[in-house]
């Protein structure tokens, strides 16, 4: 491994020269000594070239979308168009301050207004708030809205939210944060919500239901109308986790089939880059009756142009972000949507679905697949066959894929499939690239049978060999100890 940046430090080196300060009042005359820090913060000292070399060296140790296929299920690792990057960096986006007079932000506000409307149309919802900055924050916002709705109606007895056992971990975590009890519902043998069980679980205390559609098995929840009827009969609301929206663009509008609330992951469906873990954006759309509870401000248009609208302040859940959300991410998603249009969006989902089904059709002869029906944009294969026959785990298979130049699928999730490998190729992968990935998976299946030891050793050709996660916990080492 490369040294840390601290180990490259040499006293007196500079990466930046600042203009000379035009004033020389002694600092202690401006701020008394007792407020000064006692010793200098020992940041590293390097030239610009030293810094560049260090971080370029680090960059070479990453997998990224331009390097190769990134089949992480439910993460939608599609290509991120470069025009977005060029346009968003314009100074009249990058150098805007959130407290500028509205008259100087008209272009930005207009863009946000149009994006609110486009996302509302795509989801079939009445109104969208762009404020949440991540999918989990969108969930949190959505559950707060459910809470605000029930409080406004005097539904104080509603204490629980139902979540399928195939859901992302953020779903129950977001519910807990709002103060709800989480009731888990088992999926049925078809990998879908068990309607009979749902009927048993739902009662007057049910505040809502969170459903990912298509679910994390890559299957469309066909009985959504019935589910909606059950929920609405006790005045509970249905939340759609939009993590898998890449399957539905132009095919289904969630707001028109029973869902009351949805969050979007712009860093998944709408091609904004993941940035190594963020920043993303998690806008939230709601049906008409929930509009009063959306975060403030919304962007509205009047005769005087566009403005930040706080008029529903008294009913709103308040704010989840200091300002108006991740503006730079929103600009990128706006550009993407405008370049695709209605037909382009539908083509995205069609090709995402075709690519996933094509891969599944090839791989089902080599790996166990619990739910063999046609999938949506992703499917879940598993390593149970290899585990049983060759004592090779899904983790071993994942690590071997790294050797072959691919990122691994999402592994060991959803939790209901043992040794799960959740595969989402996305629409941006070509036939050749899908074939290459399939070929690698087939080779690995053969290696499992012929040379399982190789799998246990994998990866062999990555910048580091298999990393000891357990030691990172047992001998916790979260910061570099600066020696001076």
């Amino acid at each position: 491994m490369p040294k840390t940046i601290f180990e490259h430090s040499s006293p007196g080196r500079r990466g930046v020269r600042l203009p000379a300060c035009e004033f020389d009042t002694p600092l202690e005359d401006l701020i008394p000594k007792k407020y000064h820090r006692k010793s200098i913060a020992r940041l590293p000292e390097l030239s610009e070239l030293d810094v560049m070399r260090h971080y370029i060296k680090l960059s070479h140790m990453n997998h990224f979308i331009e390097k190769g296929l990134y089949p992480l299920g439910s993460c939608t690792m599609k290509y991120n168009p470069k025009i977005n990057e060029q346009l968003v960096r314009h100074s009249c986006f990058a150098d805007l301050h959130p407290y500028q007079p509205e008259s100087t932000l008209q272009g930005a506000l207009e863009l946000l207004y149009e994006l609110q409307n486009d996302l509302a149309e795509i989801s079939g919802m009445a109104k969208v708030s762009l404020q949440p900055v991540a999918g989990a924050q969108g969930e949190f916002t959505g559950i707060k809205i459910i809470d605000a709705y029930h409080k406004a109606k005097g539904n104080t007895h509603k204490t629980k939210i139902i979540i399928p056992d195939s859901a992302h971990g953020t779903n129950p975590a977001s519910c807990s944060l709002v103060g709800y009890d989480v009731v888990e519902i088992k999926s049925n043998s078809e990998g879908r919500c068990d309607i009979d069980r749902l009927r048993e679980l739902v009662d007057e205390n049910t505040a809502g239901f969170m459903l990912t559609n298509p679910n994390t098995l890559g299957l469309f929840e066909s009985q959504i109308e019935e589910i909606a009827e059950i929920m609405h009969s006790v005045d509970a609301l249905i939340y759609m986790d939009g993590a898998n929206l890449n399957a539905l663009l132009g095919i289904v509008q969630p707001g028109k089939i029973g869902f009351d609330i949805i969050h979007f992951n712009l860093h998944k469906t709408f091609a904004t880059p993941h940035g190594g873990g963020g920043p993303g954006a998690g806008p939230v759309g709601v049906v008409e009756k929930l509009v009063p509870y959306l975060p403030v401000p919304l962007i509205e248009k009047s005769d005087n142009g566009y403005h930040l609208d706080y008029s529903h302040e008294t009913t709103s859940i308040g704010k989840v972000h200091t300002f108006y959300g991740n503006f730079a991410v929103l600009v990128r998603a706006y550009i993407y949507i405008k370049m695709l249009g209605a037909e382009g969006l539908r083509r995205i989902s069609e090709n995402a679905i075709i690519n996933a089904n094509y891969l599944m059709a090839i791989l089902k002869d080599y790996y166990h697949i619990q739910h063999q029906e046609y999938c949506m944009h992703e499917f879940v294969a598993d390593g149970t066959k290899q585990k049983k026959e060759n004592n090779v785990s899904t983790m071993d298979i994942a690590k071997r894929l790294l050797d072959k130049g691919f990122h691994a699928p999402t592994v060991y999730f959803p939790l209901i499939i043992p040794e799960a490998m959740m595969i989402e190729p996305t629409e941006t992968e070509s036939l050749e690239s899908l074939n290459a990935f399939a070929q690698a998976m087939i080779e690995i299946a053969q290696e499992c049978a012929q040379n399982p030891e190789l799998l246990h050793e994998a990866p062999l050709s990555t910048p580091v060999r298999r990393v000891d996660d357990a030691r990172a916990v047992k001998e916790l080492d979260p910061i570099f100890k600066i020696q001076e």
């Binding site: 300060c21 971080y55 300002f323």
Partner: protein, 444 residues
């Protein structure tokens, strides 16, 4: 079709392999009546050339701070950003990578996060930091929630001098689990220490201290800490400007228990207030109560140095409803910008940024208060790079009039109070221009 490789020929080949004739067969599980009938109602698709023109139509209606003389702050600041920062964060190796779950092909991301955590701890004097929160506001909220996990006390004291938008976010984040937020009044732009002493008792779980506070004033953190820690279980949450830490007390010096803040000032463009990032640091004995991702050093199977996500059993993908936070995606790339920024600035550079900002702010304050009718709102408080003046006209009116001089005068914090932020980017000439415009405006 941009961004899709599949041609009709490719699709035919794929359909054959799948064993279908047409696409509709793949979506039979979506009942027909649930499908969109006439397509989405969207604008016509634009080419790259056309979208570039369309965006030009937007940007030309914005007036950015480079084209005016801006003195806006209040949580987001226009500090200088070296060119190399954007170069590094634009590398697709960092930019289009996912969360570093597969450590063997994510060492670049993991190592920079480790370096980022180290730098945050060096600035704050803490022992462990996470990989980021969404912004300063949610970082304070998460700190209050962590304090509840530590001492199970559901009351938090929030000074009136905390950023008002932070308060709203904190409220949204903490009301669900029943945290009682009690406001501590201010006197002369600082926490009223007598009132704080009265309000503290064994039911208080945490006290938030923002310094420099919303008004730019430097709180007497040592005194606040002394009062807070008279209560054995109560935790002190410091919310700080990372640039200020180059010259002002590291929060460890006044024994803060949790240190958070807004990190945007470290090498990130303002982008109308987002993305921002919150930093979050604390002491090792609370590591298992922390929210968010943490990277730790370890070894690979050959014994070579390596990095991995650690203490993951705190997180939502494992602990689900009992996780320490619901956060998953964070603001990783913004922390890369901060890490590269701090590396380029180094210890001297960051000190110079802090000192120049301080010097400039104090020069502008001195000159402005020479104008008849203008005085410091909090003359007895010490400040860093931001301060509040009393204005002879409504502050909103002044902001409008100064705009016609090409100046963003500041943020109105009360009817006749204007808050002004100054960074190292301001020259004496730019500040003199502000002063003479203000002279004209306030005598109008």
């Amino acid at each position: 079709m941009p961004y899709i490789s599949n041609t009709d020929r490719d699709r035919r080949e794929m359909f054959a392999k799948i064993g279908i004739e047409n696409f509709d067969e793949l979506i039979q599980t979506i009942p027909k009546k649930l499908r969109i009938k006439d397509g989405l109602k969207m604008d016509k698709a634009l080419s790259e050339l056309e979208i570039t023109e369309k965006i030009k139509g937007k940007t030309c209606q914005n007036l950015c701070v480079q084209n005016v003389n801006s003195f806006l702050g209040a949580g987001v600041y226009d500090h200088f950003i070296p060119a190399a920062v954007d170069y590094i964060i634009s590398r697709p190796e960092f930019f289009t990578a996912y969360t570093p779950y597969q450590a063997e092909v994510s060492q670049g991301t993991l190592q920079f996060i480790y370096e980022y955590q180290s730098m945050i701890c060096e600035l704050t004097g803490m022992e462990i930091a996470n990989a980021s929160m969404y912004d300063g506001a949610s970082a304070v909220a998460e700190a209050i929630l962590m304090a509840v996990r530590k001492n199970h006390l559901l009351k938090a004291l929030i000074p009136e001098s905390l950023h008002p938008e932070y308060y709203r976010v904190i409220k949204a984040y903490t009301e669900g689990i029943g945290v009682e937020l009690v406001r501590v009044p201010c006197s002369n732009g600082l926490i009223d220490l007598d009132k704080l002493a009265e309000m503290l008792d064994e039911t208080v779980g945490s006290v938030v201290l923002q310094s420099p506070n919303y008004f730019g004033n430097i709180e007497d953190a040592h005194k606040v800490s002394e009062l807070v820690h008279k209560e054995a279980k109560c935790l002190l949450i410091a919310c700080v400007d990372p640039i200020s830490l180059a010259i002002l007390n590291a929060p460890s010096e006044y024994e803060a228990d949790i240190v958070v803040g807004e990190g945007q000032a470290l090498g990130n463009s303002m982008y109308m207030g987002g993305p921002l990032f919150g930093f979050f640091a604390t002491k090792l004995n609370m590591s298992r109560l922390m929210p968010g991702r943490i990277v730790g050093g370890t070894i690979d199977k050959t014994g070579a140095r390596a990095y991995a996500l650690t203490l993951q059993t705190r997180e939502q993908h494992i602990r689900r409803g009992k996780a320490t936070s619901n956060i998953c995606s964070n603001q990783s790339l913004c922390t890369l910008a901060a890490t590269v920024y701090m590396s380029l600035m180094g210890r001297q550079g960051l000190r110079e940024v802090a000192i120049m900002s301080t010097q400039n702010a104090h020069y502008l304050a001195r000159e402005l208060t020479k104008i008849k009718g203008i005085e410091m709102r909090y003359p007895d408080a010490y400040f860093f790079k931001e301060f509040v003046i009393k204005t002879p006209l409504p502050a909103q009116k002044i902001i409008e009039m100064m705009l016609s001089h090409g100046i963003y005068a500041g943020v109105a914090v009360a009817e006749n109070e204007l808050m002004i932020a100054v960074t190292e980017k301001k020259t004496k000439a730019a500040m003199d221009e502000y002063v003479s415009a203000m002279q004209e405006v306030s005598n109008a």
